[in-house]
Amino acid sequence: MTDASATARPIERGGGMPKMSGEFSWTAALFVAPAVALLAIFLLYPTISTIILSFQEGLDNYIRLFTRDPNFFDVRSFPPSGAFWNNVLWVVFYTGGCVFFGLLVAVMATRVRYEALVKAIVFLPQAIAATALGVIWKFVYAPNDQIGLLNAGVGIFGIDPIAWLGNTSWVNTSLIVAGIWGSVGFATVILSAALKGISTEIIEAARVDGARESQIFWRILVPMLSLPISVVAVTLIINVVKLFDLIYVMTQGGPGSTSRTIAFTMYKEALASRNFDYGAAVAVIMLLVLVPVMVFNVRRFRADRVVQ
């Protein structure tokens, strides 16, 4: 980390652009034209078009989403339900779980000789397609206790098999657990790299002063890692807003619509049910949610700068 930040800092401090050299030349157009053309056709034009489409009925689509669509936003019951609130659940528990376990593994692994092995094992799910990850966990959650590992496990304690993905009170928890399993490795790798940058002396001094391990963890490591933790958290929140594959593979948003997310709702409305303007409104909400998160991410540190 120390080396990387030393080389990276001059760029950041330079603020915007580096000092330019060279003359204006038409070859510049040649270099940027393909990128600009593709972005204009495949990102800019569709985005504008989707925003316009979402207002086809004035504000109706948005009003309907937040007042008359219990699949999306329902605050009449407690806890509130719908895709939007599922995403809130995901943000809290998935992000929190990944950061917590990531930090735990990173800190504990530094104390043992097989650090690299443990980190590689936890990181491995990052290489797996979310589609395959969904199949792996669907298998763990299989309702038959001769097939599903989890039901075989709880069976030892005399608990009858549970349809983890078919039961409205378990489905979101089960999905979030699978999501955490898939992403802890990412948090571990970044936080572990950041941890290496904390000087041993501080920790040793605290130990000499009689600090307990838990105090060292909460009072020294966590505050000193607040920046990389926030980078990891923001990245995971972006994952949540875009969360689609896992839901599509494992539950199709079901049972009923209890496990839908915003991104899944957009797909369902616009492409499966062909409610184009309604789906467009959901997409615009995704964009609006991402704006502050993304601004934060680009302006603060970038994950690869923290590490390398």
Partner: protein
Amino acid sequence: MTAMEPAVQPPPRNFSERLTRLTSKAPIHIALLAIAFVWLVPTIGLLVTSFRPRSEIQATGWWTVFGGNIDFTINNYRQVLEQQNMLQAFINSVSIVIPATIFPLLIASMAAFAFAWVKFPFRDTLFLGVIAMLLIPAQMTFIPLSRLVGASGLGGTFIPIWLIHTAFALPFGIFLLRNFFITLPKDLIEAARIDGAGNVGIFRQIVIPLSVPALASYAIFQFLWTWNDLLMALIFAPRQGQPMTVQITQLLGTYGSEWHILAASSFLIMVVPLVVFFSLQRYFVQGLLAGSVK
């Protein structure tokens, strides 16, 4: 590297000290062992299942193989490749992913070079505009783009998905590569200019050869991104050219509890990323980390 290592600790003097040290670390060893167990078992379970005959899978849990219930077969793999179209889906995945990795690599590095080292009007504004596009989620584009694809008559080809993957890879690629390119020594590029090299020459002979690590990270990230992609493929891949991710979701719909088929197909899709993971781990990690802003 080893800042957290108890480096100041001297080696144990005798057996009892070694034992004390070992037991004081025992909770950590146990916790890490438990974590490693939880992170390996689900994948191992599916791997073992992919080699068990269908009748065995339906009758006993996969964990019984560790109790001596060993009856392995490769028929599941044969079946998904021959009868469930996974071989064709594998070819389709490759056909989508290779152009969808090469195009953005080429186009993003060209643009990144111009943004880093060539002067032209509105350069900074344009660059900020490109970066702003990082936040556009794919969902924002589905409706207009599927209409556009329909109207263009290219719906039965790979061209739409190549171009769409490429476009979505550009903001991040331009951002990443430009940040790398501006760290290249200015003197070198100035000297080349004085020697009469044009922008094309500088790009090809100086910038590209010096940027191989950054280009490799980006290429690997993009390769895995498109290989593992389900959402874009569901919407933009041609009906006759669906990649493995889409094929697996269709098998899930048809054979929801036929685990011999699902397990074998899932491992086929994992093979390529795992090979990349083990052979190019360094670039792989960098690519994934760099990709975390996407």
